[in-house]
Symmetry: C2
Subunit: 278 residues, 2 copies
């Protein structure tokens, strides 16, 4: 494990069920480390404890994290031959940041009996749009503040080699598409392949689709995020699409699909979040 | 609370965080009490412990239950002013049957900012199909065994006043529709309104949609079920639709939407289950 993501989500076992880790700088959105990134840290501790990858993981978020030391506690619920059910808890400064319940194990490969859906249609990676680079942002400071209303550029977009479907980044320029959807390619900046732990990050790495219907930009606190890992991706950028279908009662749902270069659905995600004030 | 469902999911507090309950007869599919029914028992204990309804609940299933005494242990993760995050665990015969992680609280009403979807189109309740009655089954014993391959009629369909969209019950007659979808009306036999606890049952009360593409019928063990409660239903039968989009690697996902008489989305569900052998 020498790639950036493996290093930046590494956990060190301190005793049975206890892991030390570090939340790195540079994964922030609006000053708060991305919920998918910190979930990947807890997911890695849980996976290492049973030497099995995540199959379905649900996190309920309790309090924002910040860069720096954290610890993860893993407790077995039931460890069987094929599947292991575990809880995980990430703590920082003596406070629990989120709780995870997950089933770990391997699916039996990608043999598909039903695929009623398809990857999002995207222009080639090279023709999709990178987030504005630091020099772009220096030229046009208004592009710094698009996301969080906090005045800080989401550092996560410098860590990742995400490419947006042209138009879907419109909300960054004050031109939302009018459709609660964002799509694009996900890749790590160092080109490392995305493993099942990485998929936990991918599931929360794009901006909320509701930004494209004029809700926000602003902080969108996730209450709950569930990721189903459906296959191990082949190497190469992943096709991703995130959509919100229902925004009501102060809450929004967001559904994600992540497909690999072989055209296989590798993960599905759904989250429930508080709707930011428009 | 005098209606059937409230009575049959009642919990009695025995000490802080500990509840006694009874899994009733008559909620079985293939001899195993329905996963939504037993989730409703745990959900009720969790809800009572904080006097708040479920907002988003995830269960990971560990072992089948059976009719008879059970207990529920509830532990607070974080109880805030508006939202409470809790774990729940249902035990029977000294063994844990499933673990729950949930956030409880009220959404701020049904004011919708985005509704990108609509209730399934269904004939009126009276024109949809009840499951075969006991006398139907006595006349045609082949209809007894359709679901579980275990020779036992799913008793749950005698408890509930579910009505199937004509055709979607085709798999019961050996005539699957060829589409991994089932839709219909949900109601309790006594006409009691469905509350947020009841929605946990509704989310798992229909037969798996994959039965309509020739997978199964057979036992479909749910690994994980997540229900988002999006609004409190107005009285009256609920419009429900369940679809499977992805069956691969020995696993299937199933997505549900539940709409009330006012045309409001009241719950969304997703589960990951093991695919039965065809």
């Amino acid at each position: 494990m020498t790639d950036d993501f493996a290093r930046l989500t590494a956990v060190e076992k301190t005793s049975d069920g206890h892991y030390a880790a570090d939340i790195a700088d540079g994964w922030d959105i609006g000053g708060v480390p991305n919920g998918g990134y910190v979930l990947a840290i807890a997911g890695r501790a849980m996976a290492e404890s049973v030497r099995r990858p995540p199959l379905t993981v649900t996190a309920h978020y309790l309090a924002p994290t910040h860069p720096g030391a954290c610890s993860v506690t893993v407790e077995p619920v039931r460890v069987g031959n094929r599947l292991a059910v575990l809880t995980g808890s990430l703590q920082q400064d003596g406070r629990e940041s989120f709780r995870v319940l997950g089933t770990f194990g391997e699916s039996s490969g990608a043999d598909a009996q039903l695929v009623d859906g398809r990857p999002p249609e995207l222009p080639p990676y090279a023709d999709c749009l990178a987030a504005p680079s630091p020099s772009d942002r220096a030229r046009d400071p208004s592009r710094e503040a698009f996301l969080a209303g906090s005045g800080s550029w989401p550092a996560i977009y410098d860590r990742l080699a995400i490419r947006w479907r042209p138009g879907d980044e419109g909300f960054m320029r004050g031109q939302p598409t009018g459709r609660a959807e964002v799509a694009g390619w996900f890749a790590f900046s160092d080109g490392a392949p995305v493993d099942p732990i990485g998929l936990l990050l991918v599931a929360d790495a794009f901006a909320p689709p509701v930004f494209n219907i004029g809700i926000g930009p602003g902080w969108v606190p996730t209450l709950e995020l569930t990721v189903h890992v459906r296959a191990v991706p082949v190497p190469g950028p992943l096709r991703c699409v995130f959509r919100s279908h229902y925004v009501q009662g102060g809450l929004l749902s967001e559904d994600g699909e992540i497909w690999d270069q072989a055209g296989v659905l590798v993960a599905q995600s759904r989250q429930l979040a508080l709707t930011p004030r428009s």
